[in-house]
């Protein structure tokens, strides 16, 4: 097959053309547009000026949304890790015949509509939702407590969306560990817990870090959970972009915020790739 060096390019050309024309060029457009000027009449004027970026950093309003986004992303990562590691470890160690089905069940939410999963929390956290209903039936409270439309509710929605990604990443990493290593550690006198701490845990860290990166990046770009489960103060950066572009039609400013978000994510992913390698994530995703 070596005599035809053009063949792979022929096979690749449709995909490359599509991604180049529909992704690379448009994203470059966003960057270019972020330097344009928006006339008071609402027209966009080609220019090269930093006004849109200056506007973003002019006062604390916009940067605080960016910081909120990063904080929520960090909180979501930590909670995902706490909730995800143990089930992943359970899948690794269990010898139950039900294991394939239990794993299928974890993957099931991937297939369920994101908007349905998000709004389903209204039935749980709302004023007449499950929790308030149960608490009132039990007599703990006399009127509903506000569980919805705050940051906690947003994080609930995010967790439900992202937990399967975390569990899968950790599981794939755990599954690659040779079980005889823990046996060896135990035969040398380690307790079960010591064997886990000294052998299994360090070897599962690649999966842990891959899961953390994926959850962090996906949270940073999230739009729906703050929109549906959050209150007025819970906007994240994606909501801001949507409002500026679709709401006020301020394309240059919307482009500038998009560029800021994208730059931030590129820096994070690039740094990660430098030290950890990004392929682990792609390999894991292909198993899902």
């Amino acid at each position: 097959m070596k005599e035809k060096p053009w063949k792979p390019w022929l096979l690749l050309s449709p995909s490359l053309t599509a991604v180049f024309l529909l992704l690379v060029v448009p994203v470059c457009f966003v960057v270019v547009y972020s330097f344009w000027l928006r006339a008071p009449s609402g027209q966009d004027i080609p220019a090269f000026q930093m006004g849109n970026y200056a506007k973003f950093f002019a006062d604390f309003f916009y940067p605080s949304i960016l910081l909120d986004t990063l904080r929520v992303a960090l909180e979501t990562v930590i909670l995902c890790l706490i909730m995800g590691y143990v089930p992943a470890y359970f899948f690794y160690r269990t010898e139950s015949r039900l294991k394939p089905y239990l794993m299928l069940l974890v993957m099931l939410p991937f297939w369920i509509s994101f908007i349905i999963r998000t709004l389903s929390w209204i039935n749980i956290l709302g004023d007449s939702g499950l929790i308030n209903h149960l608490l009132m039936e039990a007599g703990f409270i006399s009127s509903p407590i506000g569980l919805l439309y705050n940051e906690g509710a947003v994080i609930m929605g995010l967790l439900q969306y992202l937990l399967p990604f975390m569990i899968l990443n950790i599981y794939v990493s755990l599954d690659g560990i040779d079980k005889s290593l823990t046996e060896a550690a135990k035969s040398l006198g380690c307790t079960e817990w010591q064997a886990f701490r000294e052998v299994t845990l360090p070897l599962s860290l690649p999966g842990v870090s891959a899961g953390c990166l994926l959850v962090f990046v996906l949270t940073c770009g999230t739009y729906l959970p703050p929109m549906i489960l959050g209150g007025p103060g819970n906007d994240m950066i994606a909501n801001l972009i949507f409002k500026r572009v679709i709401g006020t039609l301020d394309w240059p400013f919307g482009s500038a915020i998009s560029t800021i978000l994208l730059t931030l994510l590129v820096i994070i992913v690039y740094t990660y790739n430098r030290y950890m390698g990004i392929n682990q994530i792609f390999k894991t995703l292909s198993k899902g």
Partner: protein, 265 residues
């Protein structure tokens, strides 16, 4: 050993708790869809199908459903049509810049949908084209292509090159080799890729909110609009339909592929 057993019990309980946490909201949607009350909330007062009946008479939802089906199917076809050859190129050939291009084609997974939405819409605006069904379709193809690539590549790695080389040495040309050898072996992955592309397209909200025109609304975008005036039993009913639909498709596909695999073995 005894200590380990109690630790293991804790792990099992913890996992059980995570399952309960994950599925309670989803189950609640399905249960509340049968609540006859005006407000879709607890407590349940009887069981009724009236919201499903009401739903089946809602013509805007039915239109959106049709749009979603057509869009999802076309996205699945186009996405696999361009994704499968690309996967072949990456797995079967060596060429310069391979790793870079592979990362480039999979990168859209990591780009926020909001940015993709703005970018494509801005580009279309610059070309002075109106929003259209075509925009929605090409947008969804870009969104789903990385997943198709990942799934098909993962499968291709497992198909031995020797099979193809054997066919070639017996006189088959590359096209015949693909048709008679590679394609049948790859078919389950192509099918899985199509299913995944369909589901992603069918479920997508954020990017679709940017690209959809008033005539070409999809079901999730419609639900998003309905949510503006708080949650209603009708939304729960629609959610229940969507859950049953999107869950049964992969389960049925998994079952069928297992049966076929057993049949051919």
């Amino acid at each position: 050993m005894k200590r380990f057993i109690s630790g293991w019990t804790l792990i099992k309980l913890y996992t059980l708790f995570v399952y309960i946490w994950m599925f309670t909201p989803i189950v609640a949607v399905v249960i509340l869809a049968f609540n006859p009350q005006q407000f879709g909330s607890f407590p349940m007062e009887g069981v009724s199908f009236k919201w499903f009946v009401k739903l089946s008479h809602n013509s805007t939802i039915l239109d959106a459903f049709k749009n979603s089906m057509v869009l999802g199917s076309l996205t699945a076809v186009f996405s696999t049509a361009i994704g499968v050859p690309a996967a072949m190129a990456f797995i079967r050939y060596d060429f310069k810049g391979k790793d870079f291009l592979n990362t480039l084609l999979i990168a859209p997974i990591m780009i926020p949908e909001v940015v993709l939405g703005v970018a494509l819409l801005l580009f279309i605006r610059w070309l002075q084209q109106p929003k259209s069904f075509a925009l929605l379709l090409i947008g969804h193809v870009v969104l789903t292509l990385p997943y198709v690539l990942l799934i098909v590549q993962a499968r291709l790695v497992g198909i031995k090159r020797e099979y193809e080389e054997a066919a070639m040495s017996l006189g088959a040309n590359p096209l015949q080799t693909f048709r008679e050898v590679t394609f049948p072996l790859l078919a389950p992955a192509i099918f899985a890729g199509m299913l995944f592309a369909f589901t992603i397209s069918f479920d997508d909200v954020t990017a679709t909110l940017f690209w959809a025109t008033a005539q070409h609304q999809t079901v999730p975008v419609k639900i998003f609009g309905m949510l503006r005036n708080s949650i209603s039993p009708e939304i729960n009913a629609l959610g229940a339909v969507m859950i049953v639909l999107t869950v049964s498709i992969p389960l049925a596909a998994g079952y069928l592929s297992r049966r076929f695999a057993r049949g051919s073995a």
